[in-house]
Symmetry: C2
Subunit: 247 residues, 2 copies
Amino acid sequence: MSPTRHKPYELFYWPGIPGRGEYVRLALEEAGAPYVDVAREREGGMDEMTELMEAGGNRRPSFAPPFLRDGRLVVGQVAAILFYLGPRLRLAPKSEAGALWTHQIELTITDFVAEAHDVHHPVGVGLYYEDQKKEAARRAEDFRSARMPKFLDWFEAVLEANGATKTKPHLVGRSLTYADLSLFHTVDGLLYAFPKASARLLRNRPLVAALHASVRKRPRIARYLESERRQPFNESGIFRHYPELDR
Amino acid sequence: MSPTRHKPYELFYWPGIPGRGEYVRLALEEAGAPYVDVAREREGGMDEMTELMEAGGNRRPSFAPPFLRDGRLVVGQVAAILFYLGPRLRLAPKSEAGALWTHQIELTITDFVAEAHDVHHPVGVGLYYEDQKKEAARRAEDFRSARMPKFLDWFEAVLEANGATKTKPHLVGRSLTYADLSLFHTVDGLLYAFPKASARLLRNRPLVAALHASVRKRPRIARYLESERRQPFNESGIFRHYPELDR
């Protein structure tokens, strides 16, 4: 199946932030697959998204965006969407073991991203950051000193065990997978949110740093990052830059 | 493939708590599949587990337990393990769409479980509960009043959209899947940790309550729950009963 002949995929996600939708966008962009970012690009797209999230409008409603529609199939949860797209976009190994391992890495990225988010929302997602600044300061310290190093060490070890080099820094096998794209974006987000801590930690994780640099230079990704389709990080998203939380 | 003729699966997880390992155990138990709970049952099992988590001992090390070994394959992350076991234990639909949907539900359970955990550890997993009691009290309020209802409403809606009834309360299709087992255990954990809030909320989610009651009565699950293989909930695990956090 050639992705360019495929009917456009429909991605449903909140406009205004890269958010979790960005992990799906990067895979579609790298593959050059046709897609519509429904809530941003289609008139009435927001209503369409809301309707699909209600059990009345969809027998299999997602708990939250993003979700992807491909013909009659609707799939939610970033890692599940990427597991579905992986073989279709040639961004995952074909073997069951290879596909599962790529998925396992993605699920660990998911955990890391959730923790990065919770730094600024340790008490509750329904409250403003301003109402939990004290708690966030404590959580940020733990995140910078314990969690970030632990996760980054694991990715560095996975790269090393895979025989990755600075010129070929892949998490799985010898070519790019969606897990590489997702780790790229996560590191990008950390560099935005915690520039001091991230720069310091990346100095001792050369393979993770090389992966981040090399994905950014891929022709389709580079063009995408320059385009208006790429939304900048901001303080409504997962990765937020509050200077008081960085050190 | 008959599970009973299969070489025993090897489950690696911390002894002493049901924890995330329990989601895998319940699937293996319901299927009557042979398995070894390595760190609990095998001499030197803890060392074996530690070794497999290091990149030196395993080209594909898991970030954290649980992980499962099936012959040469090692897979970590609960949802990925269950995705792998699902068709093998006849606890998931065979179609790609059905398997993905079951997985998507499991991933949403994963998110719910992580939030239930973070109630008692809002500031950092490396700190004791005693050092974050004030923050935990705020987070617990948000969890009881906003997050628990939101997640439970979603499961109730999924059950309803699937045509579930009080006598056949399944999340997917007409028979039991690992997602049913996982929701059972999650509700069980919530009833332990937040007995007041859970009882109150379940009163208005009759299908979720029926699912919980019906899984508990399945012959193999009932025998398992009575056995020594089932470890009780306690205050070292995910679901902890701190009376001050319940209301």
